[in-house]
Symmetry: C2
Subunit: 209 residues, 2 copies
C-alpha cells in the first residue's frame, strides 16, 4: 500500500474517467475515513464519519472538536478511506497480502456557515452512513446546528488502490503442499439491538434489517 508521489502533482482524475469512477465507488462504499493533519509538525490521524458529494467530502463533529477547528483553518489535510476485502494467503510468507480498496485524497477543508447548507451536508453524511435514516429522525434544531461543526473537504488530488484476486506465488512454490487462497473479510451487520428505552411499539425500520 503505497501513496501517490504528491510531488508529481497528480490532480483529480477527469470526471467520467475510469479512475474517477473507481475513486467514487470506493468512497461511496464506505463511511469511515481517517483524516490526517499536522499541528506544530506533529501528524494526527483521527477516524471520522463522512459523506461524499462530487469531489467534496463532508465531515462533522462537535463545534469544540480540535480536529475540526484545525481543519477549518484550511490547513493541508489527507483523507484516507480503506475497505478490507480479504486476507491473501500465499504459499510463501513473502507473498501474503491483503485484498482491499483504498482512496488517499489530499485537499483542504472549510467550515460551512449557512444553516441550510450545514443541514444538507449532515443529511449527506447521514445518508452515506445509513441510507433512509434521515427521513425518520427528529431533525436538528438551530441550537443543535450551532453546536455542530460541518466542514466541506474539497479533494484536490486523489488516487485509488485496489488489490483483488488469488495469491501470486513464485513458480517453484506451487508444488508445495501448503494451502493457499483468500479468506474474505467484510464489515457485516448483526441483529439490531433496540434501545431499552423504546417505549412505544415502534417496529425497526427496513434499513436496519
Amino acid at each position: 500500500m503505497e501513496f501517490t508521489d504528491r510531488s508529481k502533482v497528480r490532480r483529480l482524475p477527469l470526471r467520467g474517467s475510469n479512475e474517477w469512477a473507481d475513486i467514487c465507488a470506493i468512497l461511496d462504499a464506505a463511511f469511515l475515513a481517517h483524516v490526517g493533519f499536522v499541528v506544530d509538525g506533529q501528524p494526527f490521524v483521527i477516524p471520522t464519519l463522512y459523506g461524499r458529494r462530487e469531489a467534496t467530502l463532508y465531515l462533522h463533529g462537535s463545534a469544540a472538536s480540535r480536529m475540526l477547528r484545525q481543519l477549518e483553518q484550511g490547513i493541508a489535510a489527507c483523507v484516507t478511506v480503506t475497505l478490507v476485502d480479504g486476507l491473501v494467503l500465499a504459499r510463501s510468507a513473502f507473498h501474503h497480502s491483503m485484498n482491499y480498496r483504498s482512496v488517499v485524497a489530499f485537499g483542504t477543508a472549510r467550515k460551512i456557515q449557512e444553516e441550510s447548507a450545514k443541514e444538507e451536508a449532515l443529511r449527506v453524511v447521514s445518508e452515506q452512513v445509513l441510507a433512509g435514516r434521515w427521513n425518520d429522525v427528529r431533525l436538528p434544531t438551530a441550537k443543535e446546528l450551532k453546536a455542530t461543526s460541518v466542514l466541506s473537504f474539497e479533494m484536490e488530488e486523489a488516487s485509488a488502490k485496489v488489490r483483488t484476486g488469488p495469491p501470486k506465488d513464485d513458480a517453484e512454490d506451487y508444488a508445495l503442499p501448503i494451502w493457499a487462497g483468500v479468506l474474505p473479510l467484510s464489515l457485516q451487520r448483526g441483529s439490531v439491538i433496540p434501545d431499552p428505552l423504546l417505549t412505544a411499539a415502534v417496529p425497526p425500520p427496513d434499513y436496519v434489517k
Copy 2:
C-alpha cells in the same frame, strides 16, 4: 472522536493500568492501522498491516515503499487503529453516533536491520493478522528478507477512545414514535476461496474456517 491534546504530553499509561490494558486490547483486536506522517508539510495517511508486541508496533512492506523510507528516518508518526462496532441510531439526528474502539498512538519508527529480528517481527505481524498461519508457510529467504523493510514503531504516547451502548436522546425526544437502537457492525469472515492453482488435495487449515 477527538484526539489527545498532545501538548499536554500525555505519555504512555503505566503498564498494568486499566488504560494501558484498554489500549493493548484494542490494538490486539485489529490488524490494520492508518499511519500518518508529514513530508514537506503535507500529511499522508496510509493503511498498513501491523503486529504489536509490548509498546512496539511492527510495520512492513517493500524496501521500495516511500512510506517506510520516510518513517525509518525517525520522523514523527501517528498510528491510528479503529474498530467499528455499530451505528448508534438515536431519535434525533443530533444524537446519532457510532460505537467504536480506537487507539491513537504517537511515536517514531526505526528500521530493523538484523535478519533474525526482521523475521521475528514479520512473524508477529503475520500472527496478528491470522494466528496459526506462520507455522504453515514457506518462510522468507535471505533475498526476500532483503527486499522487505521492517520497522519497529515505538509508541511514546497513546490514548484509547471507546463508545459502547445504546443511544442517548434528549429527555423530550423519548416520547417520539421513532425507532432507536444500535445496528451492530463487525468485520466478518466469508467462506474461504481456495487458490484455483491449488494442485494437490490440500485441505484448508482450521484457522481459515
